[in-house]
């Protein structure tokens, strides 16, 4: 087995959300922290897609931003092609930036409304000095736009002249400009209509095949995840609770939270699946439950679950963080 292209070990990010110093002193409030990501480890093989799913506040978007360097990790490390990314600086860091890029969720906020599409898609090229001269820039941008199904003339237009799906394609074109090997996609189709989503997902799959891209795909939509991913990781309150091959996860979900998520998906074709009732809501991240974060909502919780945090361990071919699974109770 070749080494993964992207590797993450015990990655953690804590945000200080304390009130300003003056307020804390006057009102005697304690410092407050949010452990947005609390010890996550996984690896992504070259050419494959790992999907991270979870509900709001689970930390999947933070993981995405940690990977591309928008946040600095509080703990843990990220390795790209074997190298620790934290060790890189200057020219080496710039070289790394060329190899990994990101696509964002909001098609309306991810493009500068005052720039023309030509400038937007061309920015990575000019920033890294990959083209010489105006004409070469135009040619390269036209090529990129064509690869996502847009016309060369669209380069002269502004973002507000395009629909959501087209803007997302412009984002993809921009991300591909430096010919990266790894793309982090943060809910790229969540804001799009279903038929537009189908177009964008198809483009992404085609590009992956033709360019050998590796994807980290963040989403809350399990049906979409099922369509695009090879491996799936389920996150809850900053921790990975299950990590498995896609088919395995959907056919035989182990962790109680994974089962709850799968049950919560509306059944379009009414196949009459038995559904376990859904309990409660995601707890406040400022005050996470002790031990296993899911225990207040779990039907199988025991005393051990309230005190001891489960570790993501390999249990019969799947990586799960659950005492009940480990003990063979479920």
């Amino acid at each position: 087995m070749t080494a993964p292209l992207v590797e993450v070990h015990d990655l953690a990010k804590t945000f200080d959300v304390s009130a300003p110093w003056l307020n804390r002193v006057v009102e005697r409030k304690p410092r407050q922290f949010v452990h947005a990501v609390d010890g996550v480890s996984f690896g992504i093989q070259r050419g494959k897609t790992l999907a991270l799913v979870g509900e709001s506040g689970c930390g999947k978007s933070t993981v995405a931003r940690l990977l591309v360097g928008l946040y600095a990790p509080t703990r843990g490390e990220v390795r790209f092609a074997g190298q620790r990314t934290a060790d890189l600086a200057g020219a080496e860091l710039r070289a790394l930036r060329r190899r990994m890029q990101m696509i964002f969720q909001d098609p309306y906020a991810s493009l500068n409304p005052r720039w023309k599409v030509l400038q937007i898609v061309g920015e990575p090229l000019t920033e890294h000095g990959l083209v010489a001269g105006e004409a070469a820039l135009r040619d390269k941008v036209s090529e990129l736009l064509a690869s996502v199904g847009l016309a060369a003339a669209d380069g002269e237009k502004f973002p507000h002249q395009f629909s959501g799906g087209q803007r997302q394609r412009i984002s993809i074109a921009r991300a591909l400009a430096t010919q990266p090997e790894f793309l982090v996609c943060d809910e790229p189709t969540s804001a799009l209509d279903v038929s537009v989503q189908a177009q964008v997902l198809n483009i992404m799959k085609d590009l992956q095949k033709s360019r050998g891209l590796t994807y980290l795909f963040i989403s809350h939509n399990l049906a979409v995840v099922r369509h695009v991913s090879d491996e799936v990781g389920v996150m809850y309150l900053g921790r990975l609770v299950e990590l498995a091959d896609k088919r395995e996860l959907f056919a035989r979900p182990r962790h109680p939270y994974t089962r709850m998520l799968l049950d919560a998906i509306p059944d379009i074709h009414m196949t009459g699946r038995a559904r376990t009732p859904v309990q409660g809501e995601v707890p406040n991240p400022l005050n996470p439950p002790s031990g296993c974060a899911f225990h207040p909502r779990c039907l199988h919780a025991t005393a051990r679950c309230t005190s001891e945090r489960p570790v993501l361990a390999d249990i019969r071919g799947v990586r799960v963080a659950c005492h009940a699974v480990e003990e063979g109770r479920i």
Binding site: L70, R94, A109, N112, R114, E123, A151, K157, Q166, T178
Partner: protein, 312 residues
Amino acid sequence: MNMPSPTAAAPSALRRFFDGDVWYSFRNSPVAMLAAVIAFVCVFCAAFAPWVSPHNPFDLASLNLADARLPPAWAEDGQMRYLLGTDDQGRDILSALFYGARISLAVGMASVLLSVVAGVGLGLLAGFAGGKVDAFIMRVCDVMLSFPSILIALLIDGVGRALFPNAHDTLAFGVLIFAIALSGWVQYARTVRGSTMVERNKEYVQAARVIGVAPWRIMFRHVLPNVMGPVLVLATIQVAAAILTEATLSFLGVGVPPTSPSLGTLIRIGNDFLFSGEWWITIFPGVMLVLIALSVNLLGDWLRDALNPRLR
């Protein structure tokens, strides 16, 4: 690809402006058009004062004391040559208005320009850098806001005169412009800081960071164009306020040097003659000042509504 005629050439910037909502709103607002006309006339006369004025009121050789204290042309004793009358030295009021407006507008616009550059720059820095830099700049703003603007201007002016007692006129102008600018930069800084903090978290800024663009480049090339809208509106209205501040300072005697009287100076000079019945020496500069300030304010109001996407 459902965009209309992708092969047609994109329209030029000028064409886009005239097709846009801002121009449409302007054409449909009689107040804005009237204000624009008045402001344009005032600015034109002020800018081209030496060519537009019938006389040069500051050319001592051309003054005729015999023509002093003449009332406006439509009153008894008035002359068509001096349309709005003359002052005690025989200076034509109408010409003095144009020359005075020239000074007033020059000082007003220069100080607003300085305010904008300083305020926007500091606001961008505060919003983008955050943390201690932001806290420091905002505390400076708070301190400045607790002083009335006239007091600040008086202070700077006084300090300037004390430091440079034999100052040239240009230095006096510089001090005055600096003083007015200092009293006005805070609101730009605050507005821009707020907008910058909003834009900073938007995904196109994050995308630029992921590409590897340096922070200062992101600040100026990405964020700045998107926060300038409210600044434009503020600056337009501030021009009127700056002119009035300068007029107040000149009225108090601490503004422009007396050899280049602005509208404020003229009002002050004329004030002395108000009770002897020669009302025109002070009233007409006052009317001109009000006209300029009002038209610029109305334009600023219209611009704010026109640029507000929610009201369209």
